[in-house]
Symmetry: C2
Subunit: 212 residues, 2 copies
């Protein structure tokens, strides 16, 4: 941030009175501009034994497969956001229910990814502008080497393990920063825009499944 949203004057980086960390503060009207992490919300939607995945028509990770997900918008609940994204990206309709399933911190991308479980009302799909394709995958057909984001891969693996175990529990985890990687490609910088997952550029920590 270079300019104040309130008066258009330049901002400077300093610790406001009564605060304990640097913020962007307006040099004229002294408005303090806070930056907070954002929520990405998505859903594991099933039709019979198959799981809905969308193939990304946009960057980052163009052409890769993902669960329908994107930035939570103002005025909605996290679950409403997950089902909205499901509609926008896959043209899919659920029965309206969504069960909280996974909460994954992605601190280096300044995000929290939240995934719900939902049932599709019909198997009819209609990929939206942000999707090249939307398809229902049986477990054996999931394109593991083409999954867009590590939070999506973690959530899919938790879902499949729970389904095999015959019970679903809540999962939490975090994505470790790219700096801790010892192999693999350099991560792209985190991007920030609405309606889509940012590139979290990391890898999941040991999964921390916990019973409710």
């Amino acid at each position: 941030m270079k300019y104040c949203t309130n008066c258009g004057s330049p901002t400077e980086t300093r610790i406001p009175d009564g605060d304990n960390r640097p913020r962007q503060v307006c040099t004229r009207c002294h408005t303090v501009h806070y930056v907070n992490p954002r929520i990405v919300t998505g859903a594991v939607c099933v039709w019979e034994d198959r799981i809905l995945l969308c193939r990304r028509a946009i960057e980052p990770r163009h052409g890769k497969w993902t669960l329908p997900a994107g930035f939570m918008e103002t005025g909605e609940t996290i679950a409403e956001g997950a089902l909205r994204e499901t509609g926008e990206e896959a043209g899919a309709r659920t029965d309206g229910n969504a069960e909280l399933f996974a909460v994954i911190d992605v601190p280096h991308a300044e995000q929290v990814h939240v995934f719900y479980r939902a049932q599709l009302a019909t198997p009819e799909l209609a990929p939206g502008e942000e999707s090249l394709d939307a398809r229902l995958f049986a477990e054996a057909d999931i394109p593991w080497d083409q999954i867009a984001f590590s939070t999506v891969e973690a959530t899919l693996r938790w879902f499949l393990a729970d389904r095999r175990a015959g019970r679903f529990i809540m999962h939490t985890g975090r994505i470790t920063p790219p700096a801790t990687r010892t192999t693999g490609p350099s991560p792209a910088p985190a991007t920030h825009y609405a309606g889509d997952l940012a590139d979290e550029g990391g890898q999941p920590a040991a999964s921390a499944a916990r019973p409710g």
Copy 2:
């Protein structure tokens, strides 16, 4: 938002290409400025059978009691934020562990409140600048008519019910907008600043406790 953070020029409200809702867009550099809900993170911290509450030294709800909580900051996990707030507001130290306990949507305040369970490492407390007091309460002594926020009250009631039942589960819920109230005072407008709960000005919906 009246001015662009990138170039300081005036913004206008319009729907960007490829989007489906109005955003603030810069009239000169065309940067789109997204607004997303923010996470408030807090903790139910216990020492033996007692629960830590802080008495607010700041508005909104000056003088009321709350669980230690505040806006999640960038670069931390939600749990780390909850324990940071516990340190800042109560001078309390935990054993470092935090179990996800409640996720409550507050859509009209553009917030999600997330609460964890934690154990204090010692009963020593040292109220911070934002607290008039910090104290450990036995269940019978909780000042129910002096609780600052409806999400805090809901979380406390879930916690006590679970403790009586001998097992803790994950809880989700939402705060209904003030417009749906039929009695009670007019809510204050939602405020937005870091390090503290905003005034959510609503009341909890029927609690949606669900087993993990």
